[in-house]
Subunit: 267 residues, 2 copies
């Protein structure tokens, strides 16, 4: 623990993708508690109902009652219009005296894990997966960096929610592993290019979410499927809250190496 | 040097993408010399003229005069029809007594290196790049593996032409680094899934090709651009022939770890 750790994320604009459920929802909730008054959250997801429910919950929280602005953007990230809406709403939510712009690239899909690599002959399917999971992440990040250029006294942080799958191959998870490896390299290049930016690829560990349920029920490879089932049965899955607490610790201490992959178990 | 190294690649079907120029062309030429009589090469590229010139050259070579079949497929790999043509021509070129099916995923483009990551806001541009450089490679590999399932006594080898960029970020090369990291992970997953397959990601080093000329003339980042110019000026670029000789050595010895990244300088 650093003695110089911040106790808040500043007066911040936080843009969070995939915010309606799972880990993204927990990030939104945690960030709402760690930003200073005068901050704004821009939450995006495809599901309007879940997003509205979160918005209502945050409005009633202590931060909400103290004036935290929470904007929702129902958007499909694989559509050009989706990115434009997010940037446009973010610009409106921004105010000149904010001292931190934080983008959380959390949205992502598992892809079809019921088949092995040799079954992926359909270009349209792979293109569509990579568009949602890789292209949109690059293009949203680029759009946000252009919309909020570096200013003196202002920090900009870009988070990439990554996975052990970015580093290690898992049988029958070709799409997920490929997209996570692609994204991680993308953010490493960005970190090299923009030394004034803080870039973090955070691997939250095996979380007890809907995605894990898909993993243990649909994964084609029997031994991989069993290892997920075993982790679940033995209570080894992490809660979103526990993993997100580690992420917030990293952000508050702010001494990670920019561009690095940091695993929950190393925090 | 292994004392058990083969001296040929067998009676083989070799499918090579991006075969008309640069490293792909050298792979085609080298393989034509290393396959046994009764083999076939299926060469694909977008440029019909370059492809025909190579076909004519191979027809006049010793292997060509001895009956090597060389089929050309003018195809855009990012189009569904392109993959289907390659597979269909490959099936026709195949004969039952072949003992080796070898797919070389060599085709790839550098992408626009004149801009930094924060300039990539256009989803259509990034989607199109990933389709050509990532999706097509997965879908062609899957299609070829389905068209030529494992048989007793037959070897199947899948090559991925990779780069140092799959492992290290380079400023202003976000598309290239991202696609190479993605492809490499894709082939690592494939190697885990298909233990009967031989999978190799070969990094050919800095080659004296058109792509290197683009690299040293167009790269946005001044220090990266200079390092490429310096390598060129100081004669440090490798010829395609020298690097391809190392690749052929790896294929003949056939004792690399399947799925591994092997760099030219480590051979």
């Amino acid at each position: 623990m650093s003695s110089t750790a911040r106790t808040d994320l500043g007066r911040a604009l936080c843009i969070i993708t995939g915010a309606s459920r799972g880990f993204g929802r927990t990030i939104a909730t945690d960030m709402s508690r760690l930003v200073k008054p005068g901050s704004a959250l821009v939450l995006t997801a495809r599901s309007v109902d879940d997003l509205r429910a979160l918005q209502a919950e945050l409005a009633e929280s202590e931060a909400g009652r103290a004036g935290l602005v929470v904007e929702c953007v129902v958007a499909d990230l694989s559509q050009k219009g989706g990115l434009e809406s997010i940037v446009s709403v973010s610009k409106e939510a921004f105010s000149e005296d904010m001292d931190h712009v934080l983008l959380v690239n959390n949205a992502g899909s598992l892809g079809d894990v019921s088949r092995y690599a040799k079954a992926f002959t359909d270009m349209a399917e792979v293109d569509s997966y990579l568009s949602l999971n890789v292209s949109s992440s690059l293009c949203l990040t680029a759009s946000v960096l252009q919309a909020f250029p570096q200013r003196p006294g202002q920090q900009r942080t870009v988070l990439n929610i990554t996975s052990l799958c970015a580093l290690q191959p898992f049988r029958s998870w070709v799409l997920y592993c490929t997209s996570k490896a692609a994204r991680e390299m993308m953010f490493r290049v960005l970190a090299e290019e923009e030394p004034d930016l803080r870039v973090l690829s955070y691997s939250p560990g095996p979380l007890d979410t809907d995605m894990q349920m898909l993993a243990r029920s649909r994964t084609a490879d029997p031994s991989i499927r069993k290892s997920f089932s075993d982790m679940f049965a033995q209570g080894q899955l992490l809660t979103c809250e526990a993993s997100c607490a580690k992420l917030m610790k990293l952000l508050l201490e702010d001494n990670y190496t920019t561009g690095a992959h940091v695993d929950v178990y190393d925090v």
